[in-house]
């Protein structure tokens, strides 16, 4: 199941684990990324708290945590090569995996159609 937030994150939900990244729209708006900072594995994050930082040549931007949970894995590949986020934001450019505190919290997030309407 794919969900979205108004802060331009996407979540792919499987068995209570959410793979989180930024949307194609967000990646395009940010422009070429040159730096990514990810949370530590094991970090307990809260909804709307700061989860990661991305920087383009122009500016730094925060990536917020879409739901409460614990970080189980991070994508070191985008730290080593931030351009992956631009080239494949909703695939190889994922940021981190979050074990959701309450899996049903995801139900309240936007579905793809609602997100597309938001950015239209």
């Amino acid at each position: 199941m794919l969900k979205f937030t108004a802060e331009h994150e996407w979540l792919k939900l499987e068995d209570g684990i959410a793979t989180v990244g930024i949307t194609s729209h967000a990646a395009e708006q940010l422009g070429d990324l040159v730096f990514v900072e990810l949370p530590e594995v094991g970090a307990i994050l809260t909804k709307d708290g700061n989860a990661a930082t991305v920087e383009s040549v122009k500016a730094a931007s925060d990536v917020y945590c879409p739901l409460d949970g614990e970080v189980t894995e991070v994508n070191q590949a985008i730290v080593d090569d931030p351009s992956i986020v631009n080239s494949d934001p909703q695939g190889a450019g994922w940021f981190f995996k979050l074990k959701l505190k309450t899996a049903s919290d995801a139900d309240a997030l936007l579905d793809e159609a609602a997100y597309q309407e938001l950015i239209a």
């Binding site: 422009g31 070429d32 040159v34 730096f35 900072e37 930082t53 920087e55 383009s56 040549v57 122009k58 500016a59 730094a60």
Partner: protein, 378 residues
């Protein structure tokens, strides 16, 4: 009414839109921050080929003495800038700055001897204030802001070739030369200068012909349009100051490490020593040094350290030194680059200091500027 309606536009505005630029407000103008290629590619393209920049938002000003004599205009402007303008040869250009009574910098500018008058280019954000300043103080001169001209910068190793297709004589120009040129029968003023650290040109064009000239230059396959985003990263790698960030009324020219722009005739013991606003402080700092200096800063690691990051002598944030005034990722350096002010005893290249970024203290090395090797045609 949205913000767009109050922004001014340059004569190349329609061209930017047709090229797919992302537009942003800058100094009251709707300007291209990047084109579809993006900031990274635009930056690197300028260093390896040629980039075309719209800098028409900048102020182009003619200063003409009522007497008609260049010398009178030069001496008048020397009362506002600590630069040798009388000694500037016809067809030559020099960097300078307006100083205030406290020795701070009101704006930086390029100054050209055009034979019987001066032609100066000032920053967009300061041009109204500069014009008022000039008109108030240069009472023996006519000062005119040229509203009917665009300014196109063409920068990079392929810039000469792109311009030569329109005007073959360009090859005989040297860095900081300024000439009249007929580009496809359009009367232009071409200077061999710019703000990228690369060889290149700034071309003053009549507004109604600007799009035609820009399109003709872009016909060169090596020439691509470049936005303000890459202009900023290019100038920062080249160690060049952005007015409002790296220099302003709180920074003196010596603090800003711009003393190279103050020629001998205006220094203590020179034939026209002093005689500009803030001369006491500036001449004193030339003789005895300033307490702080603008320096290059090379952050360790990959994280950019941005403007206003606080600088410390230690990794615990105990002894504050100053702050970063410009910082980004340098695409040609392939790493973060920054400039900022530190006490003079920390201004030696190799000195290790720290910057606070998101609650962490990152290590930076004070570095010589520029970060790249300029390719000016001297």
């Amino acid at each position: 009414m949205d913000d767009q309606t109050v922004l001014k536009t340059t004569p190349l505005h329609a061209l930017h839109l047709s090229l797919g630029a992302r537009m942003v407000p800058f100094a009251g103008y709707d300007m291209p921050v990047q084109y579809p290629a993006g900031v990274l590619k635009e930056h690197l393209h300028t260093r390896t080929a040629a980039g075309l920049f719209d800098v028409s938002h900048m102020g182009q000003v003619v200063i003409r003495a009522k007497s008609g004599a260049y010398e009178d205009a030069a001496l008048a402007l020397e009362t506002l800038v600590p630069v040798d303008i009388l000694g500037l040869k016809p067809g030559r250009q020099r960097y300078g700055f307006f100083t205030d009574d406290n020795g701070g910098i009101l704006d930086d500018l390029m100054i050209t001897n055009r034979g019987d008058h001066l032609f100066v280019v000032v920053n967009a954000s300061c041009k109204d204030a500069d014009l008022a300043h000039l008109q108030a103080h240069l009472t023996n001169c006519d000062v005119e802001l040229l509203e009917d001209r665009a300014l196109i910068a063409l920068q990079g190793p392929r810039a000469e070739g792109a311009l030569a297709a329109l005007w073959p004589d360009v090859t005989s120009m040297k860095f900081m030369d300024v000439r009249d040129a007929s580009l496809h029968d359009v009367d232009c003023i071409v200077s061999r200068s710019g703000y990228s650290g690369e060889d290149g040109f700034e071309i003053s064009v009549p507004a109604d012909q600007a799009e035609q000239i820009a399109k003709a230059l872009l016909e060169d396959l090596h020439c691509q349009p470049i936005g303000l985003g890459a202009r900023d990263s290019l100038r920062l790698e080249a160690g060049l100051c952005l007015y409002g960030n790296d220099i302003d009324t709180t920074t003196s020219p010596i603090e800003a490490a711009l003393e190279w722009a103050i020629q001998k005739p205006r220094r203590a013991g020179g034939v026209r020593a002093g005689g500009f606003p803030g001369a006491d402080r500036i001449l004193n700092e030339l003789a005895n040094g300033a307490t702080r200096r603008r320096v290059g800063l090379k952050p360790e690691g990959k994280a950019p350290v941005r403007a206003h990051a606080e600088l410390y002598a230690d990794a615990e944030g105990r002894t504050e030194l100053g702050e970063v005034t410009s910082g980004t990722f340098g695409p040609s350096v392939e790493g973060p680059v920054a400039m900022g002010y530190v006490p003079t005893r920390f201004a030696e290249p190799g000195c290790q200091i720290f910057a606070e970024v998101r609650g962490k203290y990152l290590s930076l090395t004070v570095s010589a500027l520029p970060f790249i090797t300029p390719t000016y045609k001297r």
